[in-house]
């Protein structure tokens, strides 16, 4: 299951699969990326919630598609004129392709942010630097704590009359005071946090990170396959098999053997974790509830 993988694996896999197609302008690769990214959502989100989000993605897609032809006027096939400017089919198709790409990458990143919990991010950076991981952890803790505080700080100061008659000027002044007050409060309290860290030996010796995930065989396999895909697709793209151009007219590569095989390889690897997830998620579970 994906959430049992090492964060480094998740990071490498998601980045490879989502970012590789972005190096070409080929709509077929972008479409594959979008479809596999969409299927990935089903590994963690409820079907109901995914369906609810579809109108949002369609709108997103439409806006990006239409953005291009309104600002770029190249392309031979003119569909109509808007305020005396050309609105060409090629620009529209290019816009649609960009939208396909952005939406596809977006879908993959939604899943990535679900699977990369703060703990996993921490583990990833803990490898690079134990200090960095402490700071990330501190920040992750402090942000919700601070936002809760500011919210009730505003409310209580309002009762104390800080906001005066509620006019714009008074509100601006009050917000300034709220900010200053919050700053003082947070500084005062961070002193205790610093003391608490010192008291527990922060900085006395070489720091080690406590890990709760380990790199397993499956992590090696997934990383290796991601790497293979990157190299393979990199070469294929570099050799121009997927070369696509939109201006002045649309040029698409012929459906020859190499692009077909490459597409198949991409689909296989980008569905790998999803399929693995569904197999693992459907057997081996006890019907009992944990007592």
């Amino acid at each position: 299951m994906i959430d049992r993988l090492h964060p480094l694996t998740i990071f490498i896999y998601f980045l490879t699969v989502s970012m590789l197609p972005a190096f070409s302008r080929n709509p077929i690769l972008h479409l594959l990326c979008l479809v596999t990214g969409f299927i990935m959502l089903f590994t963690w989100a409820q079907v109901k919630n995914i369906l609810k989000k579809i109108p949002f993605f369609l709108l997103f897609f439409l806006i990006i598609s239409l953005f291009n032809p309104f600002f770029y006027h190249n392309g031979d096939t003119v569909l109509f004129y808007v305020a005396g400017r050309r609105f060409s089919l090629e620009a529209l198709l290019f816009g649609a392709d960009s939208a396909l790409m952005v939406t596809g990458v977006g879908l993959w990143f939604i899943s990535l942010s679900h699977y990369m919990t703060s703990e996993k991010v921490l583990l990833l950076f803990g490898k690079l630097s134990a200090k960095a991981s402490t700071i990330i952890s501190l920040v992750m803790r402090i942000i919700p704590h601070y936002s809760r505080y500011i919210k009730s700080y505003r409310r209580h100061q309002r009762i104390l009359g800080l906001y005066g008659d509620g006019s714009f000027l008074e509100t601006v002044k009050a917000e300034g005071k709220i900010f200053a007050g919050f700053l003082t409060w947070s500084l005062e309290h961070s002193m205790t946090t610093a003391d608490s860290m010192t008291a527990r030996g922060y900085g006395v010796g070489k720091r080690k990170s406590f890990k709760i995930n380990r790199f397993r065989k499956i992590d090696f396999i997934v990383c290796f396959l991601s790497l293979c895909l990157a190299v393979f697709l990199g070469i294929v793209l570099g050799m121009g098999y997927f070369y696509t151009d939109y201006y002045p007219t649309v040029k698409m590569p012929a459906m020859s053997t190499v692009p077909t095989i490459s597409g198949a390889v991409y689909i296989t690897i980008s569905l790998l974790l999803t399929i693995n997830h569904f197999i693992k998620a459907n057997y081996g579970f006890s019907k009992d509830k944990q007592s």
Partner: protein, 479 residues
Amino acid sequence: MDFLKINNLNFIYGTLNTSAKKTDGFALKDINLKIDEGDIVTLCGPTGCGKSTLLKLLKAEIAPAGDLSGEIIFCGKKLSELTAKEQSKDIALLFQNTEDQIVTDKVWHELAFGLENLGFSQADMENRIAEIIAFFRLESISKSDTGILSGGQKQLLLLATLLAMSPKLLLLDEPISALDPENAEMFISALKRLHDQTGITIIIAEHKIDYIAPISDRMVVMDGGRIICQDKPDEAIKEYRKLLPPIKREADYPKSSRGESRREAALTLKNVYYRYERNSGDVLENLEASFEKGKCHAIFGCNAAGKTTLFNLISGFYKPQEGKIIFSKKKAKIAYLPQNVELLFTAETVEQELANVGLKRSDYPNYVNRLNLLSSPYDLSGGEKQLLALAKISALNPDILLMDEPSKGMDTNLERILQSELKRFTENGICVVMSTHDLEFAYAVSDLCSILSMGKLTGFKNTEEFFETNKLYSLKRRP
């Protein structure tokens, strides 16, 4: 060899400090103390007596700056001669403010934090953390965010993180003063279990001595920076009570509600419902209550019973989803003393803080004399912050005064100040509503009492009647 020995310790703060005023600058004077291995020793005394300062001086890395004379000998070595690693490993200190001591966002990471710093191996860390989780029964929260824990859980977690480093000496600075009785008992029982199991030496500074005395081997009573008595708990408590006599109910409160003059409601709640999320249960459910003018109402109830929610509704932070809140006076002015009184502070000094609500020096209430006007509000002790907040909100001349745990962090001397202020408020016709866990305090100051449970308030009863008829909500018999 003595475990811990303090010889002729004197200490003067480097910076201006409120507590030092009455002791010629000395925060601690002629402290001589010997503590045997395996003892539980309680330091107690009025606010500002120096107990926290003494504790902090025992933890050299974070000791306050100032002039120190005399010596502290820990396990045969001068404290100042211990290496930084020895100090962080062997001496553990739990500070007063729970919230600020939590460093990381996950419970397991917090437990690992000290071990990571000391460079333990992965296998050692796993073993220690597993052991600590089992001992403190943290399994169900081990993977939670630290932010969602209750105050009691946070305090227990911090104790656990310190213990993971297996210290020889455990210093606790007011560990239960901010906890409600339920959590305080949970904490004390964990501490007792820990002591029985490991025989660790513990020094506790605390003024809720009713909880601590039964597990203490020795109590040290301090006043004005000096030790005035150290003895077995039974004897020391007598000295402590001389210094801080328990708060009493004044005789002129009416004994029963019968035959009283007509009541006048300041605030009425009718069929009020409130829940936080669409699919969660109701926190307040068909709540009905009437609060009277010129009376002090005490509301009891366990944690998460909805007391703070009720206050947030009355103060207008939330709107009731069904039902009505009716004020008898149009545009009734409400003042709200929250549990965390720092929410009321905006200025750099106590003086500015009071000036912000329009108080001139001549208008200061008497008790403001106890505060150092030039000090930052954040440098005051817990009880003193409470006093400053009280001065601020009483300057608003409210019609309705909401107080969430007003006696938090106060010793009985400060509680008496609060008592007389509350009396003044009610005599001026203010409707006071407070939520509290402190039954003794509520008995001493309130006119009417009620319990919030299952989203409803039980009908308000006259305080004397309430404490006579209720078996569980009754005053503890003191030793």
